[in-house]
């Protein structure tokens, strides 16, 4: 019997569990390789050629090239890994959150300064469905 996932009804959230880890393995290993300067240099010379070293899916590869931050998470990426690709682009965690939430940097930063996103209405997927959010 598969383990019950009691965390799948949290809206706007991926829980990076063993299934996600399996799916995203090659993608995440690529991302973490960028923590070393020599790899950042090689990637910078030719992104496509560098990506050939990792057996990721065509979709994952495209999402890397497109810097499609949410798609990367949907395809098994984990934020701590994808943040290494973001760092390569000069994007920090807060700027990345601005992109992933679709709010943009200024609005996201303003939300955080005002105390962050409230848990009210953001605990269950059903609450988002009612509001018509994804």
């Amino acid at each position: 019997m598969p383990l019950k996932k009691d965390y799948e009804d949290i809206p706007g959230t991926f829980i990076f569990d063993a299934d996600k880890g399996r799916e995203g393995y090659q993608l995440n290993q690529f991302c973490i390789s960028l923590r070393l300067q020599k790899n950042r240099d090689t990637f910078g010379e030719n992104e496509e050629a560098y990506l050939d070293n990792y057996k990721m899916t065509a979709e994952q590869r495209q999402a890397v090239l497109d810097r499609d931050w949410n798609r990367l998470l949907e395809l098994g990426g984990n934020i701590y890994y994808t943040s290494k690709l973001a760092a390569y682009d000069g994007i920090n965690f807060q700027q990345l959150a601005g992109l992933m939430t679709g709010m943009g940097n200024d609005a996201y930063r303003a939300m955080m300064v005002a105390g962050g996103r409230s848990p009210e209405g953001n605990r269950y997927q059903s609450e988002w469905d009612e509001k018509g959010d994804e």
């Binding site: 965390y7 706007g12 300064v113």
Partner: protein, 289 residues
């Protein structure tokens, strides 16, 4: 004999390290974050700690996905700050009390906590940021004022160890420390949190009410608090809020009877609620100073 006399709970937001490294801690955005650590630095000096036992997690920096130990104990002579994609932080190399660390490793395994032994390891902001906020600015040419035994916990790939497991590991760490002959004053740090979510469309979640209750219960109901199920952290404190299980290791290593001597809470530092607490064993109060 070595003793654990006090515990520190502390967020380890990377941007806090960046702010210190860039010397911008007096800017209006950062000032309220750092203000709450002024007292802590004084307190830290008074402790004259010989060793900090520092519980933290790696953020897919040093540990890639090829090997994911739940508990990894640093047994190397020293730990250099890692390059996390922006270059290594310009802070001192962390020096271990290697004899104590290997004693703890043996003791824990015989106590049925089957930890992984790390004889080579770099450390990321999870470890260096708590050092910086508690000890103040240091450059690469300085030295940290005490030795550090690091314990790295997996909180990235679900599931992190349960709060209960972490709390009991704290008790085993205490037994290990107390069976070490050298006279050492050990302060234990539990780091990470508080509420934050870094990823996807719910990024930016902060739950001050939940965080406050967590800080309260560290003193009033630590055992009950350690029973918090993972899904509650994830839903209430954000997907990355689950890091707070590491605070239970710290709490488990202290006496039942502790006094909260300092607390600091501020939103935000980047995406995160900064939480910090200092707990002293009531029976050890005043002894180390």
């Amino acid at each position: 004999m070595a003793r654990i006399t006090a515990g520190v709970g502390c967020s380890h937001v990377p941007a806090i390290g960046v702010a210190m490294d860039q010397g911008i801690t007096e800017q209006p955005y950062w000032e309220p974050v750092f203000e709450g650590f002024e007292k802590s630095r004084e307190w830290m000096k008074e402790q004259k700690a010989d060793v900090v036992f520092l519980v933290y997690n790696d953020h897919c920096t040093v540990f890639d996905a090829s090997c994911i130990p739940t508990f990894a104990l640093g047994c190397a002579p020293e730990f250099a700050p890692a390059d996390e994609g922006w270059g290594p932080r310009p802070v001192p190399v962390v020096k271990n009390h290697q004899v104590l660390a290997s004693h703890i490793a043996q003791s824990l395994i015989l106590d049925e906590f089957d930890i992984t032994i790390m004889n080579e390891m770099e450390v990321d902001h999870g470890l260096t940021v708590p050092m910086s906020v508690m000890f103040g600015d240091k450059t690469v040419d300085d030295e940290w004022p005490c030795l550090v035994v690091p314990l790295c916990v997996n909180v990235v790939q679900y599931p992190a160890p349960t709060g209960n497991r972490c709390y009991n590991l704290g008790k085993a760490i205490r037994r290990a420390v107390e069976s070490f002959d050298e006279d050492l004053n050990v302060v234990i740090f539990g780091t990470g949190g508080m509420s934050h979510q870094l990823q996807y469309k719910r990024a930016g979640l902060i739950n001050k009410e939940w965080d406050t209750k967590f800080l309260d219960r560290l003193t009033s109901d630590p055992v009950g608090l350690s029973q918090t199920p993972h899904v509650e952290y994830l839903r209430e404190a954000g997907s990355e809020g689950v890091e707070m299980v590491m605070w239970h290791v710290m709490r488990g290593a202290l006496d039942d009877d502790v006094e909260e001597v300092h607390r600091h809470y501020h939103v935000p530092a980047s995406n995160t609620a900064v939480g910090h607490i200092i707990l002293e064993n009531v029976k050890d109060q005043g002894k180390a100073k």
